[in-house]
Structure formats: structure tokens, C-alpha cells
């Protein structure tokens, strides 16, 4: 038994002292790669598929990919914001399910106000999540796993386990999907706009700085007078809002909503898209603009697998291997900290 577990001291020695100049250059290269990796991964995948089967790069292919990317994108953006503060929101896809069902129920009677009301409800669910996480100090993974269960039940109860078709006012929301710009539906472009807003929030506001500081070192943030409780609540509210928008995108595309229909399995693609977009699962690191490419990549992978001629039974296998590879390529290791 010569091989013992390596100690921290032997693998990560620390003697203080100055940074060798070589280290600075390396840091810059790594940082630049991290900023560009999600884009490069998506573009190279596009090229490979384009060579194998040019049909996928034609307008129809683009509209299919962007349409299926849109709900993933909303969920992934919310998830990225929560991951950024060092927490996770496992309930956000369930929020979008509840949102979709409520839209289908309320749109006929309330029109546009119904949409506003749905978003208000999803934000309120997010605020509740945030308050519970911040006040009870239960790990967010466990807590939102709990709310995930509650929301799934809520989705089944409100929809009476049926598929709800929108009887009236359907045009109010269908336009979001049927209107397209550069071959992509409006829902996708709204997602891009939301990504820009979140990016601005993180890099240009004190609130965003506080969020990232909490994700990187909550104790130091607290001692720097960063208001951690309100910021956590706001972050979960943003996740709730993003979930609500994902719900809108689902209904716009399907014209109906159900607890098991389109969009009922957004949780894992959402997390995958956030990670492929370079978000760190241990907190303090995300770029919403790269999450757009993460969502496109995740939406594109099943199509790419088909284009490469894999059989249906191999798709999950290839998908899994692909996600591992891409996340390994895009994850930031600048922190050198423990990877959770």
C-alpha cells in the first residue's frame, strides 16, 4: 500500500511569493480560451455537420435548431444566474411547466394580462425559492429538489393531467413563434435579448458584481457589506422569470400545454447548456452571451447526431460523450479551486 491519497500540501503547495511572469501569460491564454470556447465549439460543430449534410444549414435547419433552442435558452439563462451565486435551481424547468399551463388556462380569458400574470406568478415562485434558500440555509440542491416536486404536482393538478389547448387569443402568443427574423423565431431572439440584459446586469451593475462576489467567496462578500440575502432572493426571482419566459416559448410553439408535453424535460438540457456555455458549477463564473451558444449547441447535438448517421439507439450515448467533451473544453479552470 505505497500509494496513499495525495495531501493538499503536496498537490497544491503554497509558499506565498510573487507570480512568475510565465503564469500571467498562461492566465491570459486560459481566460481568452474560456471567453471564446463556447462560440468555437458551436461553430466547429456547425461546420462538421455542414460538411456531412449541407441541408441542415439551410433556412429550415436553422429555424428548427433555433426553435428548439429557445426554451432551453431561457431555462439555461436562469440556471446560469443561479449557478453564478454558487447555488442551483432544480425547480426552474418545473416553473416553466407550471407557467406554460397557466398561460394556456389564462390566455383565453385575460389576454395579454394573462401573460403578465403568469410571469408575476413565476417570479413569485422564484422569490419563494430564494427566501427559503437564504433564510433556512438548506443547500439549494436539496431545497429546490423539494420545490421541484411541489411544482410537478401543481402542474398536474392545475392541468387536471390533461393537455390544455388554447381556445381563444391564441394569436397573441403564437406570433412569438410564427414571426421569424433571419430564419429564427422571435422566441429565440427574445432569448438573445434577455441574455444581453443579464450580461449587462452582471458586468455593469453593483447588483451583478455582488452576485459574482457571492458565488466566488460568500464570506468575503458578507464582510464587504454585500447584501447577500436580497441578492440571493433577486437571483432566484430572475430564475423564476426565466422559467416563465420558457413557458411562454413552449406554448407559443406547441399551442397547448401539459405536464408531460413539449418542454417537460428541460431541466437537464438547461443545466447542460449553462455548463457548455462556460458557466462554472461551483459558482462565480458565467457569461450569459456564451450561454446562448451553449443552448444552441445543446439543441443542435441531437440533430448533429442524426446528421452523422448514428442509429436511434446510440443517440443518448453519443449525446452523453459529447456533453462531457464540450464541458471539459469550456469549463473555466482559472480559479484552480476545487471543482464541485
Amino acid at each position: 500500500m505505497m500509494n496513499k491519497i495525495q495531501t493538499i500540501s503536496s498537490s497544491q503547495p503554497s509558499f506565498g511569493g510573487v507570480i512568475p511572469p510565465g503564469g500571467l501569460t498562461r492566465h491570459r491564454v486560459v481566460a481568452a480560451w474560456h471567453a471564446l470556447a463556447p462560440v468555437l465549439v458551436f461553430v466547429s460543430m456547425l461546420l462538421i455537420v455542414g460538411i456531412l449534410n449541407p441541408n441542415y444549414l439551410k433556412p429550415l435547419g436553422i429555424s428548427i435548431v433555433t426553435a428548439s433552442a429557445a426554451p432551453i435558452l431561457f431555462v439555461a439563462l436562469g440556471q446560469a444566474m443561479v449557478l453564478n451565486i454558487g447555488s442551483i435551481d432544480l425547480s426552474n424547468a418545473a416553473i416553466s411547466m407550471v407557467g406554460a399551463i397557466l398561460v394556456a388556462l389564462w390566455l383565453p380569458g385575460m389576454g395579454v394580462m394573462g401573460i403578465v400574470a403568469v410571469l408575476a406568478v413565476t417570479v413569485a415562485i422564484g422569490i419563494l425559492n430564494g427566501l427559503l434558500v437564504a433564510v433556512t440555509q438548506v443547500p439549494s440542491f436539496a431545497l429546490t429538489l423539494g420545490t421541484l416536486g411541489l411544482l410537478q404536482t401543481a402542474a398536474l393538478v392545475t392541468s387536471d393531467s390533461q393537455t390544455i389547448y388554447i381556445s381563444e387569443n391564441r394569436e397573441l402568443i403564437a406570433a412569438l413563434y410564427s414571426t421569424s427574423l433571419l430564419f429564427a423565431p422571435l422566441t429565440f431572439w427574445i432569448g438573445v435579448f434577455v441574455a444581453l440584459v443579464y450580461w449587462g446586469l452582471l458586468s455593469l451593475t453593483r447588483l451583478g458584481l455582488g452576485m459574482t462576489a457571492i458565488g466566488k467567496n460568500e464570506r468575503a462578500a458578507t464582510l464587504s457589506a454585500v447584501p447577500t440575502l436580497p441578492i440571493k432572493v433577486i437571483t432566484y426571482a430572475i430564475s423564476g422569470l426565466s422559467g416563465g419566459l420558457a413557458g411562454l416559448a413552449i406554448v407559443a410553439q406547441a399551442g397547448s400545454a401539459s405536464a408531460s408535453g413539449l418542454g417537460s424535460n428541460l431541466l437537464l438540457p438547461g443545466i447542460a447548456a449553462a455548463l457548455v456555455g462556460g458557466t462554472s458549477i461551483s459558482g462565480g463564473q458565467t457569461n450569459p452571451i456564451n450561454v446562448v451558444f451553449g443552448a444552441l449547441t445543446v439543441a443542435f447535438v441531437p440533430i448533429a447526431i442524426q446528421a452523422m448517421g448514428f442509429g436511434a439507439e446510440a443517440q443518448s450515448l453519443v449525446y452523453g460523450l459529447f456533453i462531457i467533451t464540450v464541458v471539459a473544453l469550456t469549463t473555466s479552470r482559472v480559479r484552480g479551486a476545487v471543482i464541485k
Binding site: V18, T205, L209, A220, A221, T222, L223
Partner: protein, 509 residues
Amino acid sequence: MTQTPPPVLRLINVSRSFGAVKALNNVSLEIRRGEVLGLVGENGAGKSTLLKILAGIEKPDTGKIEMNGVEVKFRGPNDARAAGVGVVHQEQSLFTNLTVAENIEQHAMTGSALSRLGLQDWGRLNREAQKVLDKIGAKLNPNTKVSDLSFIDRQMVEIARAVCIDPGRRSTPLVILDEPTAVLEQQETAVLEREIRKLREFASVIFVSHRLDEILRICDRVVVMRSGSLSSDRPTAGVSKADLFSAMVDGQAEPVIHARQRPAVASKPAVKVTRLSRQGEFHDISFEVHPGQILALVGASKSGRESLARTLFGAETHDGGSIEINGKPVSRWSIRKAVAAGLAFVPAERKVEGIVGGLSSTRNIALTNPGVGAVGPFLRPRTMARVAKDWFSRLDVRPGDVSLPLGQFSGGNQQKVVMAKWLNSDALKVLILDHPLRGLDVGASKTVNAQIRAACKAGVAVILIPDTIEEALEMADDIIVMRDGLRSARHDLHSNRNLAIQDIVADMV
């Protein structure tokens, strides 16, 4: 056949470069059996690189290392450990949720206490650990969890871990202590000094410290490094602190203790504490600090002074007494309220509490008081960077790139940025400093102390928890001595200029 034995360690013309920087330039060095060698030098002088080479973490570009007369090449830390080099790191690397014995055993590569079938033989594990602890004279129960130990006891476990490898009868282990006293209280340092004397009976020791008087007291010989070379190598007998200091910084003499004028006492104290108590930490503490005044809180470990400082900042709660800031009593005190009232806190645990290592210096400074770097809720990135650059040049922070993650800077430069973060506010009224010079070299300490004095001059009230009594005497107007959570003495340094360290120590223990 009565040759003198070969030195435990001999470095011959060892060099190591990083890019264009020569971190080590033709260093040759010998350590004899049972010798305690002091190693001093400013941050960046090459100490770290030298230690890393000895620990097998870095490889020399050129030159040879011999141990006990035999040339060695370390491929990694395990090789160095097997050859008998044990390192006690500056930041402790113990597994706090394991027992003392488990920590020691986990480090040893031979004499494993694993029985057949890979099961842990607890009896043997504890016996082996007890042997090592006895050898170094540490009175610790091997079955105690490390998280239950005090800092000095953890240091003992680190030492036990470092010496638990028996490299064979012919050779002597080499123990490297990398700034072990940087975080120790005065009387804990005394324990460590005893320990080093004990170690010398069977090992050679390299002792690294920024505290020159300690080096002179403990070591047989002292080596000074400057810009990658040895600038002085001589027995400690007959060497003065000033000699060492001038060898470190190229000829300048050590600064004299700062002479201060008593500040004009304003009518209203910036901080007034009346009978403040916190269960299990401190009890019935009262004092006032006026603008422009420095109050030092002196005490041994468990004196309660750290908790008192954190309570003033709202990071811990008090259960008795009152705090008044600028004449107004506070209620439901919190960090947010404290900062809004103009309080600032520089914590002792810099990496965990003082900085957000993954954020740039620019953003660390803007985190609390962005000043002109923000308009309402919005940040102004360019202005923020300009503010940071301003502070970098004022405090001589190196390297001078404000966009790099602060965690990559050396401790001294990190501390300068922590100071900048709080000083970047016009509303600063009270500065609370918990061990502000911990782990800093002479140059960085001077910069930080100069900033404290400048803030003071500008009318900020300062509450200082110093590393040493000397630091208190150098900086403070008043000293409060604490013992077991109670105030045991108060000294006004302006009316009592001849106060001696011994007088203060008497109230501490």
C-alpha cells in the same frame, strides 16, 4: 575513519528562471546536522522558489542538490518526502475532520497502519502516531479531531507529519518551517521555539520568518536572500537586526520607531463601547476611540480581542452593553449598518474573508465603496479601473495589472488592495484592523502602516489588533490589554513613553 559527516543538505550553484526572471541565481548553500538555519528575504527575493525546489515541487534549471553526501533529483513532492525533507506550510494543510493520528499516518509513506484486507488497524495507527508525537515532545492525544485543536497544536501536528518519515539511520531529516510564527500569538511562539530546540536533537531545520528578532533568537545561522542570490550567510552570534535588514533591502537601515504627536482629541468619540459583553468571548469591555487616534488591543489567544473587533463591525452579536458610533447608540447592529456608518474591517484571514480572490482588483475595490466608479446601481468600468490604477500606484501594488484576479497576487499586495477597498470611501470614520501585517514582508508592512497613519491623520479612528507588542508600541496612542475576555490593563503611550514589553506581557498572562 573519523571524517566529518557530509552536510545534510548541500545546494551547488542552483539556478531557476521563470521566463526572463531569474528567481534563483547560482545559489550554493549547506546545512549541517542539527543546525537551525534562518532564511530571510523580502517577498520576491527567491525564498519561495528555493523552498519549492527543496520540497520537490519545482526543479532547478541548473545545479546540483546533495543530501547526506549523495546527489538527489526530486521528481515530485513524494521523492523529497522519501529523502527526508518535511515541509510545514505557511497555510495549514491538515484535514480538520480527521484525527491527529490519521493526519500523521496519511502523510507517512512507510510503516502503514493498514492491516491485511486493507482495514485500518486503529490501535497501531494511534501507537505509531503517539511515537512521533513523543519524539517531538508534543502533548497531544492522537485520537483528537484536528478541528478541536488550537492553532499552535495544529502546528505541532504539521511538524509531526513532517518528521514522521524515517529516512534511515544514516541520514538526518530536514524540516522546513515556512513562516510558522506568522499566525501565532506571542506565547504560542514560545512553545514553537521550544519545539525547534527539541527538533534539533535529531533533525536539521530551515526556519523562514519575516520577524528578524525571532530568527536571531532561534537560529544558529542566518541566510539572507536578495534578488535570487544569497546576500549574507553567517552565524547569528554577533549579528543585529539592522545588519539583517540592510542585507535584505540593499543597504538601508531599519526605520526608527515612529514618533507621534498626541492627536487633538475631538469632543465626541468616534467609537464608544460601554460594558460590552459576548457570552464565552469577552465581558464588560469599555473604551473610547477618538478620531485620529489608534487604539491597540493586545492579548494572548483566547483573550477575546478578535471577537470584540468582529462584534464592533457587526459580524458577531453582543449580548450585553452598548456601542455608540459618533455619539449615536446603535441597535440591531449588522455589517451593513456598520459600513453605512463609516466602519471598515480588515480581517485576519485574508484569503477567506478579506478578498474575493477570483475577482479582479478593480472589482474588489468597487465591491464595497465604488465611489466615483458607480452611478446609482450602475458601474462605470473605465472609471473603476482608473480608481484601481490610482490605488495601485499609490500603494505600489505589483504586478501593476488591475484586471488580474486578486487571488493571484502575493499576500502583501492583496493586503494593500484590501486597504484600498476601505480607504476608497470619503465616509470612512473607523478602521478596524485584525492582524493587518500577518504574513507581510518588510516593504508591504511599511506601506500598510503608512496608510494606517495617513488615515489616522485624516481623522479616522483606528482599532488595531497587532501581531506583536512591538507593533502596538510603534503604532498606537493607547493600548488595552485583554486577558480571558476581560480588560486587564490600559496604557496611554503618550504619558508613559517608557512602557516596556515586559510590563504588557505581565498583564497578558
